[in-house]
Amino acid sequence: MARVLVGVKRVIDYAVKIRVKPDKSGVVTDGVKHAMNPFDEIAIEEAVRMKEKKLASEIIAVSCGPPQAQETIRTALAMGADRGIHVEVAGAEYDTLQPIHVSKILAKLAQDEKADIVIVGKQAIDDDANQTAQMTAAVLDWPAGTFCSKVEHGSGELTITREVDGGLEVIKVKTPAVLSADLRLNEPRYATLPNIMKAKKKPIKKVSPKDLGVDTAPRIDIISVEDPPVRQAGSILPDVDALVAKLKEGGHI
């Protein structure tokens, strides 16, 4: 049976209206509701289903981030993960943490924990990078199955249905492998109250990138974060002729 490592990221809740800091250094996160990245919920759900089908022996939830990232790990534990690893990265170091760093961290943990499958969400809804699964596979030199909408288990291999432009692609990969979860892979359960309480007793190990030998020196510089341009007000036109004239004027037809 496989040991599954799942990456879970703490992001600003999807329902929150994002506000940019007045100094344009980033978005406001203080006092803002956070939650697990929805694609990572799907990743955890897939792992839990593997365990329920006796295809997985253990699920390890990993999150890189500030102390509050532990809340996200707790949610993963409440959904069914067995234990957590919190890679503490806080403050300015976290502001410039990029998929390249996270990939190296996940790759190192996958080796240390002898994982057979690594699952992450296809992208996080805050930075929309969509790079971590691909780079983790590259660092490990494992096959990657990205944008999974279905995962079937064979012996030593996985049959994966991928969502690609214009349709579905079915591929086979040998394990160990790295997968990324797409929207339609499953519908994640929500953590139940008793399971949330029980999850408090599950262990979370805390490590730092340094412990793992990963250099988190920034590769980027944040110059400015700005709101998207405000949509211009529309206008109501009297008739079709006026509409056609306007469209012509704008060069649309």
Partner: protein, 634 residues
């Protein structure tokens, strides 16, 4: 000067019982029996000091311990836990539950109730080792606030199960009963119900007729009787049933029926129920009659002691009332959201309607009563979590205040939305129907008002009695007399002797606090005057008692918002300035109402109106409806 004597013992039977039992639960004042015993003894026990704010305002005194500072009972870990728990509850209501369908079908469908059980929403306060979520009262309040904001019918199903259904097992169950039943009502997914009300015993719960008689060998009781309007009555497998049991007093040898609480399983046999009642609101919750015919209850299924059932019942109800205030503050929050969304969009006469004073006053009042209710709910839950025993008057006030405020808020939300508010699709008419029951069940607001007034008056009376006794033996009680003499002298010469809040509130609230202090002072004076005037007869003066209850509610509400707003100002919360406005406006109006109600309760012209009310009502009742014909004399 002080001619007050025994006012306690002549209450109408039912009320007397209600107050007596409640005050015994409180253990804050002498029960009637002790008073009689005391009369014979020269050495007097001092009246016990209650920590309750409300209780003490009846003496004109400020007892700030349970009001200031605003309680913050959650540890960091508990806060984190409740934040985690709120998420799945919110998701359940967004993604699974459909309140319109629940209402239309007058039931909660299989899938929804299964999801509720799965979620663990039926065992919020059951300890984790018995399969629950082990929430504190404050965490529970935060949870039910979400329920109240979304679906009150579901709220009743949940509340009938855990807030009253098996709460008795949590509060009074012995270890064996807890181990046997709590896992069943959580992981076992068996519904629970609280079975007290009978066709002839509503507010007068002490007069129930259901009876349980012990078998000759003492191994079991045989239960017979019927209950009505039992929430979850058609679903429940496990019931907390109240029945009269013949109890022999070991001292006198006399046998008397006394209310006793039992845990009854449907599987004991002989338990049946009627069809689901068709109701005005909370339709998806199941309400039914439950019948017991020769039900054999094992003797070990007594909850608490034989004959202590009334105390069990009152404690269960007292313990759960704050939850109603929490749930209804959620309801108000969602009503106000709908109303403001509308008011900020709707254009009439060329302007958004929220720019008109008429709408502004409505929105401001709605927000203020919501603020008061929410602040009461979390203050009481916080006090309970901090180990307070003296919260019963405040819990009763919060239930009355919350249910009336929510009704008004929903009503005004509909009014703001006009025709749109009246339409089913807007969703407010269902909330309005659902809300109506909250002023009726779990102790009608009318009974709870009398409970507040009479309990407070009894407390004030016991202290006056102590003073009276002190006069009989002045040398031994010099300290007490000097203190009292000073207080009275100050008052007599017109100096301001009102309680002082200034060290407790934020400087911005000093003026509002002075209004509250003035209310407390006048309140104490009014109660003392009433005791002198009516003596024990005060218990029958319901017109007056209701005014005192109203004044007590307003005064407590002032103190609560002063405390909450002070906390917010001290913490410099983003909403602090807004809360300051609400606290100031609330205190200004509430103190005016207190003065008015106290005046009404004493001024001759108003007392005359009360006697006219009595006569009008008697005339109408005698003629079985309106006395006069219409102006056309048809």
């Amino acid at each position: 000067m002080i001619r007050v004597s025994k006012y306690i013992s002549q209450t109408p039977k039912c009320l007397n019982k209600f107050i007596e039992i409640n005050s015994r639960c409180l253990a804050t004042q002498a029960s009637p029996k002790t008073v009689k015993a005391d009369e014979k003894k020269p050495a007097q026990k001092p009246a016990k000091e209650s920590q309750s704010f409300t209780m003490n305002i009846f003496r004109g005194q400020l007892q700030p311990n349970q009001v200031f500072p605003y309680p913050e009972p959650l540890t960091e870990e508990q806060r984190e836990t409740i934040v985690m728990l709120m998420d799945p509850m919110q998701k359940f209501f967004e993604e699974v539950n459909d309140p319109v369908r629940n209402d239309d079908e007058s039931s909660i469908n299989e899938k929804t109730s299964a999801a509720l059980w799965e979620l663990g929403a039926f065992g919020l306060q059951v300890p984790v080792e018995y399969g629950g979520a082990g929430l504190t009262n404050t965490q529970y309040a935060a949870g039910v606030e979400i329920v109240g904001a979304n679906d009150l019918g579901v709220g009743i199903t949940l509340g009938a199960h855990q807030s009253i259904g098996f709460k008795g097992i949590l509060l009074f169950g012995n270890p064996e009963q807890k181990a046997k039943y709590l896992p069943r009502v959580t992981e076992g997914r068996e519904y629970a119900a609280f079975c007290l009300t009978e066709p002839t015993a509503g507010s007068d719960a002490g007069s129930i007729k259901t009876r349980a008689v012990k078998s000759a060998d003492g191994s079991h009781y045989v239960l017979n009787g019927s209950k009505i309007w039992i929430s979850n009555g058609g679903l429940a497998e496990i019931m907390t049933v109240f029945a009269q049991v013949p109890v022999t007093d070991p001292a006198t040898g006399k046998t008397k029926d006394k209310v006793t609480a039992f845990i009854v399983e449907r599987s004991f046999g002989g338990v049946t129920n009627g069809p689901p009642e068709r109701k005005m609101g909370i339709k998806c919750s199941n309400t039914a009659e439950v019948y017991y015919e020769d039900v054999k209850i094992p003797a070990e299924n007594i909850l608490g002691q034989e004959g202590e059932g009334f105390k069990v019942a009152m404690n269960i109800l007292n313990n759960g009332r704050f939850g109603m205030a929490a749930a209804l503050s959620g309801t108000m929050r969602s009503c106000i959201k709908k109303a403001t969304d509308f008011a900020t969009q709707r254009l009439q006469f060329g302007q958004r309607i929220d720019s008109y004073g008429t709408i502004q006053e409505k929105i401001a009042r709605m927000s203020m009563v919501h603020y008061v209710t929410e602040s009461m709910a979390y203050m009481i839950s916080g006090n309970m979590d901090n180990g307070s025993q003296d919260y019963h008057l405040e819990a009763a006030i919060s239930k009355c205040f919350a249910s009336e405020s929510a009704w008004n808020v929903c009503d005004e939300s509909i009014q703001i939305m006009g025709g749109m508010g009246y339409m089913k699709g807007t969703g407010l008419e269902r909330v309005m129907r659902d809300l109506r029951i909250f002023r009726i069940f779990e102790g009608t607001n009318d009974i709870l008002r009398l409970f507040v007034a009479l309990t407070g008056i009894q407390y004030a009376g016991s202290h006056l009695q102590e003073l009276q006794r002190a006069f009989q033996n002045p040398t031994a009680n010099l300290g007490l007399l000097v203190e009292e003499a000073t207080r009275r002298a100050t008052r007599a010469v017109g100096l301001n002797s009102s309680p002082n809040f200034s060290h407790l509130v934020h400087p911005e609230l000093l003026e509002s606090a002075a209004l509250c202090a003035k209310s407390i002072q006048s309140f104490g004076q009014a109660i003392e005057a009433a005791l002198v005037k009516y003596k024990r007869g005060i218990v029958n003066e319901q017109f007056i008692l209701n005014r005192y209850a109203q004044a007590a509610m307003d005064t407590y509400a002032m103190a609560v918002v002063l405390s909450r707003a002070t906390m917010s100002l001290n913490k410099n919360l983003p909403s602090a300035a807004h809360e300051l406005l609400m606290a100031q406006a609330w205190c200004a109006e509430a103190s005016g109402r207190v003065a008015y109600n106290l005046n009404v309760a004493s001024a001759g012209k108003h007392l005359d109106i009360f006697s006219k009310f009595g006569k009008i009502s008697r005339n109408v009742c005698e003629s079985g409806g309106i006395v006069q014909s219409n102006p056309l004399n048809l």
